[in-house]
């Protein structure tokens, strides 16, 4: 399946574009997507934290991803 991943803040700067499409096996868990992205973009490893959001909620490491999910990479937030 193809996953579209929205990118924000420093993650968008590291990847160099606001959205990324990656090919992954059906139901791939969040932690494997993160590992793949960290391998492709080693600068992501330097961040204080890196989370994945699925449909506007923070996702657990083991959560399986679906092609229809709205997925985003969440570097350390700093609102307020």
């Amino acid at each position: 399946m193809n996953l579209k991943i929205a990118l924000f803040g420093i993650a968008k700067e590291i990847v160099g574009q606001p959205e990324l499409t990656v090919t992954a096996p059906e139901g791939q868990p969040v932690h494997q997507l993160l590992e793949q992205l960290r391998t492709d973009y080693p600068a992501l490893r330097q961040l204080s934290s890196l989370a994945v959001a699925v449909n506007n909620e923070y996702a657990e490491d083991a959560q399986p991803l679906q092609e229809r999910d709205e997925i985003a990479l969440i570097p350390p937030v700093s609102g307020g």
């Binding site: 929205a6 924000f8 803040g9 420093i10 700067e13 330097q46 961040l47 204080s48 959001a53 506007n56 909620e57 923070y58 709205e70 985003a72 969440i74 570097p75 350390p76 937030v77 700093s78 609102g79 307020g80």
Partner: protein, 139 residues
């Protein structure tokens, strides 16, 4: 009862305060976050806030709902966050909470701003005279 907004226009603080008025609310606590001229020892020229809008709005509402659940006497809550380019003194965020008695207004308002800073998908880039930094990005 809960009003949430994320805007690229200047925040109307007076309107935010008015929005939490209620005849049963004797106490209103308000937190206003503004852009400071100094950050970690450097002179700030301007800020840029970037937001993942749909998730930020969803998470802001969740945080406000959690506060209303923890302090059931809460009457009204308004949270407005700015995005885009801000300069020194500009208002970045307003949280306003009305309750019958004062202790709950302080507690709920502080809970909202503290939790907002941990979970809401908004990112701040500080611009100095000699560079820029995504705040909190690195350890």
């Amino acid at each position: 009862m809960i009003h949430i907004d994320l805007t690229d226009q200047p925040i109307d603080v007076a309107a935010a305060l008015q929005s939490v008025e209620a005849d049963g609310a004797g106490a209103i606590n308000t937190f206003i976050g503004t852009v400071r001229n100094r950050s970690t020892g450097r002179t700030v020229v301007r800020l840029e806030y970037e937001a993942y809008d749909s998730m930020a709005l969803h998470q802001l509402r969740k945080v406000a709902e959690q506060a209303a659940e923890k302090w059931p006497m809460v009457q009204k809550i308004t949270v407005v966050h700015r995005k885009g380019t801000l300069y020194i003194g500009d208002v970045a965020v307003v949280v306003a909470v009305s309750t019958p008695h004062r202790a709950e207004s302080f507690a709920a308002c502080q809970y909202i701003i503290d939790t907002l800073k941990q979970v809401v998908t908004i990112w701040k880039k500080e611009f100095y005279e000699d560079g820029d930094v995504w705040v909190a990005a690195h350890p």
